[in-house]
């Protein structure tokens, strides 16, 4: 099956969220949930002596930010069922308590692949996270897979 979509969507930003505030409590709750005990993420006094001079969120906190309501309107869909096939994350500036994170999203690529279980279409959406200083915090590439 040919993959049919408008190539003009590639690279076009379809959504910029409002800044999402990051609280110390949200980072602490996240650390508890994943069993993180590294002092640079959980112990303010120890973190102060660390490389960032204060608490930073674990890198994987970057994937907890949600896209806005426009997300599924602008991401092309193929087949019946969609799956979250994985994420590729590039990490920039660390996330700290008090940050405000904005997500800017675009469709990065669409490709077809034939595997053992048949034909699949992958839609990769890149969300770039930026903090209140304009620093890139992360590029999160969401890989959505549909069977056709």
């Amino acid at each position: 099956m040919a993959v049919d979509y408008d190539p003009a969507i590639i690279g076009r930003v379809f959504e910029t969220t409002d800044p999402v505030p990051v609280s110390a409590e949200a980072i602490a709750t996240f650390c508890t949930a994943i069993g993180e005990t590294n002092p640079i993420h959980v112990d303010a006094a120890a973190a102060q002596k660390g490389p960032w001079g204060g608490i930073t969120a674990p890198p994987s906190f970057a994937v907890t930010f949600r896209n806005g309501q426009h997300f599924f309107q602008h991401v092309p869909r193929f087949g019946k069922q969609g799956f979250d096939a994985g994420k590729d994350v590039e990490f920039g500036a660390p996330i700290r308590p008090g940050d405000a994170i904005t997500l800017t999203s675009h469709v990065k690529e669409v490709y077809e692949k034939t595997g053992r279980t048949g034909s699949m279409v992958f839609v990769v959406v890149r969300s770039t996270l930026t903090n209140q200083h304009g620093e890139m915090v992360a590029h999160v590439d969401h890989k959505f897979m549909s069977r056709t």
Binding site: A26, I34, E36, N38, V63, T64, K87, D88, V89, F91
Partner: protein, 139 residues
């Protein structure tokens, strides 16, 4: 244990294995903490209605667990993970023991980075989530 340094890293060096029991309550705690409180991550019966074998672990939680394997390997060395790519191959079912492991696949002298394969393995030895990570060692 001495901290890892760029000079000491060798291709084939291992991360883990770390064995741990992932409980349903821990998955629910993650779902709650990250705004992913949806039935397939919190309730067996609701997940079965969606055709799943029972409640599953959010992909993002698997990513977080793999990220922690890399962070634990980095320790207090001052190195930093700059990239993590994951592929969710099979559902990760809680109330099972998981094994996390990996090994160094590549070193790049020019940019002082090390690349590694990492994965989450089931009790049956299936690699449920696989990934690659890049760690940078500042001078």
């Amino acid at each position: 244990m001495s901290e890892v340094t760029y000079a000491s890293v060798q291709i084939g060096d291992t991360l883990g294995p770390q064995e741990f029991y992932l409980s349903k309550d821990q998955v629910r705690a993650y779902a709650k903490a990250t705004g992913m409180w949806v039935p397939r991550f919190t309730d067996d019966e609701a997940a079965r209605k969606e055709g799943l074998p029972g409640m599953i672990t959010p992909g993002n939680m698997s990513l977080a667990i793999m990220s922690k394997l890399v962070s634990d390997w980095i320790g207090a060395s001052g190195a930093r993970m700059i990239r993590l790519g994951t592929t969710y191959r099979q559902p990760v079912l809680p109330d099972h023991t998981l094994t996390l492991q990996g090994f160094i696949t590549h070193k790049s002298e020019n940019d002082r980075t090390a690349e590694m394969d990492v994965w989450v393995e089931s009790e049956e030895g299936d690699r449920l989530v696989i990934g690659t990570a890049t760690v940078h060692f500042p001078r």
